[in-house]
Homo-oligomer: 206 residues x 2
Amino acid sequence: MPKRSYGQYCGLARALDVVGGRWSLLIVRELLVGPARYSELLAGLPGIATNLLAQRLRELEEAGVVQRMLDTESNGVAYMLTPWGVELRGAVGALVNWSTPLMITGPRGDAFRGHWLVVAVDSLLQHRRFQESATVGLAVDDTIVTVRVDETGARVELCGDAEPDTVFRGDPAVVLGLASGMLTVDQAMAGGELTGRREDLAAAFG
Amino acid sequence: MPKRSYGQYCGLARALDVVGGRWSLLIVRELLVGPARYSELLAGLPGIATNLLAQRLRELEEAGVVQRMLDTESNGVAYMLTPWGVELRGAVGALVNWSTPLMITGPRGDAFRGHWLVVAVDSLLQHRRFQESATVGLAVDDTIVTVRVDETGARVELCGDAEPDTVFRGDPAVVLGLASGMLTVDQAMAGGELTGRREDLAAAFG
DNA sequence: CCGCATCCTCATGGATACTG
DNA sequence: CAGTATCCATGAGGATGCGG
């Protein structure tokens, strides 16, 4: 009955009242990539229980972070972020950037989904500047993400129909190392993990 | 046995593995103002259970976010953020900014501590620009915070011995409204809640 | 006092089965 | 497919105790 709140007149506390629950921000992460069906959310959130996903979606919808929409393809429901929900990108990105040390040294064998790179690489490239413009594809497992940089900044998205002309295949850690600047292009390509034109990669992660 | 982890190779998930637990980020908020004793943390975190505070401090220390130090005054222990912990300021600030709508419309009667304004006002002023420089004091309850702005940005801190020459006394909501830009100086002073030289206030929250 | 540890109770989270 | 229902494990909140 009484939904648990911190009961503090403090911005951080009130924010956590809404998105501080377990799995809540991870659901937001999924929806930052784009609208998704319930089953897609389940697939993108390995480990979540079905009842929890349903409950969290209800809470986030009630709070005004998430809204339901009609999936025109299947005539079913899909979930998407409200404009206010999209504004969580900054907070999510800050946490992603902060966690870089944890991504380098942490445990192996964790679950991974290629589309997580969309939010992560975007955040990591956000505070970097680029002289040249470049568009490269990054293939991890069966997902291809497009990284497009120019003088105005970086944009990362899931690859749709139009594949970029240069696609690199590699390990998630290598991709994140490049994006965070912990790994140089030379180091990343040395292991032969990444294939393609070196100068394209250097421009995208310069 | 196994500390609860999301088990995802994702920056956000790994960050939440460390600071996603209940109360964790609020503890960080307290320490962003400065080092604090255990009892001070308890006072700044109304609602937390004593055992939880002890457990969270242990976890955060083990993760490298918090470190113990010697309190030279009392020869007791004090807690402070590590350099990596301080870097959470960006994420905390992003959540504070995001929560602005919740601070305007939310429930009344929540607990409040004056020093919470240090982190909040600092975050809210961070993305704003100022033509003139100004230093004003904001008094809420028995806490006075100093807001100092100039062309290079804003800095907010707890008022020590040297009180600023102009001190405004007001309601937390009015102060936050000013800092977020939701409230103009005229509106804030109209109710007579804030007293002092209007031009000083206008410069600090322009 | 201050800094916790213990104990107890109940709310929350997790796993799985089940249903419209 | 999109969730509920159920049941068990874990975690949080509150009071109290206790050593330094």
